[in-house]
Amino acid sequence: MITAKTAQLAGRYDVAVIGAGPAGIAAAVAAQAAGCGRILLVDREPEAGGILNQCIHSGFGLHQFGEELTGPEYVSHSLAQVDTRCVDVVTGTFVADIAPDRALTLMGGETGVRQVQSGVVVLAMGARERTRGAIQIPGGRPAGVMTAGLAQRFVNMLGVLPGRRVVILGSGDIGLIMARRLTLEGVEVVGVFEIMPYANGLGRNIVQCLHDFDIPLHLSTTVVEIHGNDRVEAVTVAPVDEALRPILSHARRIPCDALLLSIGLVPENELSHQLRLRMDPLTGGPVVSSTLETSMNGVYAAGNVLHINDLVDWVSEEAARAGRYAADALQGRHPPADNVRLVPGDNVASVVPQSVAAGREHTVFLRARHTFEQSAIRFGEIYTKKVRYVCPAETIAITLKPAFLDRFPGGALRIDIYPRAGEAE
């Protein structure tokens, strides 16, 4: 059933999935495939699909569907797998609370507050964008300062433009995509400014979003002031030194009427905090086991709520595992508990999941702290993998074969990334 009316829902579900973006859809489909009969998939937007509905560019789905799809097409392919005889998709509905016994409080615009009980819960709330407050740009508070993703929604769904002459701060993928998008809509994009000495987005997006349209990318440069009272009139930009401090003697003023921020994503974990889940300060998401179960029994997490991903295909793959393990637990199938704790070592910014178990194959997602042209990833003494290129902007996915872990006695396994043959940049 697809509905926006919480009154039409059953009182009890086997699996409740919070968030109907790519993670939530994949988790629900996997739970359905594992034989769960009553699944709830809930989203606060008027339709399922999450942020992919506004990501109209292509580049999604090469791994999951074997073809390059746009965001809306990826949603359509994913939703086609949902069997609405066993999955209730409820849209326009907000999950206000999850009790430790997994009673969900739902708020719907049409039918008010409703409580439902669920056997297990999968958290798939995704992420939010960091805003101006996160980096505290001085200046006035005029209209026209917004996150790149909000501008994307304005342009691609609501049909309004954020401005006529736009500056973009931050070289995350959304910012790069919006530089191209706005250019194609006739907006002048003055430039993309990045405080770090390297771009944060994928290389392909630097090429096809900036180079193709001669949009300049200014590295080691940031916005130090926003000018304007009612509307943005200009921003001041300045280069930064090695400690990322602005060199104000080299500042310059750039007239513009909008400033877009593409300065990173934060996992959206209000519900996780309400549940008092153990959180990982490195990822901003819950700590999970190799079955993607959080510190609370019966509560699972997958996708951007867990750690920021740069490929939706990996989100779907991870969430499918969460959905399957959640369904397994409900049906009394528990794999052996984890015996190996993964500890980020040199040059490792984060690792997910935070523990694994011998006897099974695992996919481990890492982020590097630095860029290395040639590198190797070392899992303690048991496994070293050579990797051609690592950088902080790109997730590294590593498959751990049972053969490696079976040689390890258990306990803490330290992961290091180091440059090979002195080729560090």
Binding site: N53, I56, H57, P72, E73, G159, E185, Q208, D212
Partner: protein, 126 residues
């Protein structure tokens, strides 16, 4: 006299660094690719760069004011802006189904523009 031109592959998010070695405009070697897409992209980018175009067109009567569309194939890179400008003049009415052709043979490129989502007609209270 051989020249080496560097490209960054846009075929997938891996972003392989490609090298095309050419001699009097003839490609003599392609290096750095890790799949056949990359090799083809390098050759194409060197001789006749092309791009997929994804944009939106105005639509009435649906949940949203814009319908996402894409070119069903690649168009020459220098026609991308012109394709978008042409699509700005199109106004559709819901319902539209994913895959519906929104513009046939756009600007004589031989490439159709298709809807990338279904936009049902929304019954709105008067």
């Amino acid at each position: 006299m051989t020249t080496v031109t560097h490209y960054l592959c846009i075929g997938c998010p891996l972003g392989c660094r490609l090298e095309v070695e050419s001699e009097q405009e003839q490609i003599v070697a392609i290096r750095g690719f890790s799949c056949k897409l990359g090799k083809e992209y390098a050759a194409r980018e060197h001789t006749d760069p092309r791009r997929m175009v994804a944009t939106t067109v105005a639509i009435e009567g649906g949940l949203w004011a814009r319908l996402p569309v894409k070119t069903a194939g690649t168009v020459p890179k220098d026609r991308v802006r012109a394709v978008c400008d042409a699509l700005h003049r199109i106004h559709l009415n819901a319902p539209v189904a994913m895959g519906d052709v929104v513009a046939r043979d756009i600007l004589g490129t031989g490439v159709d523009v298709v809807a990338t989502r279904t936009m049902p007609l929304i019954e709105r209270p008067p």
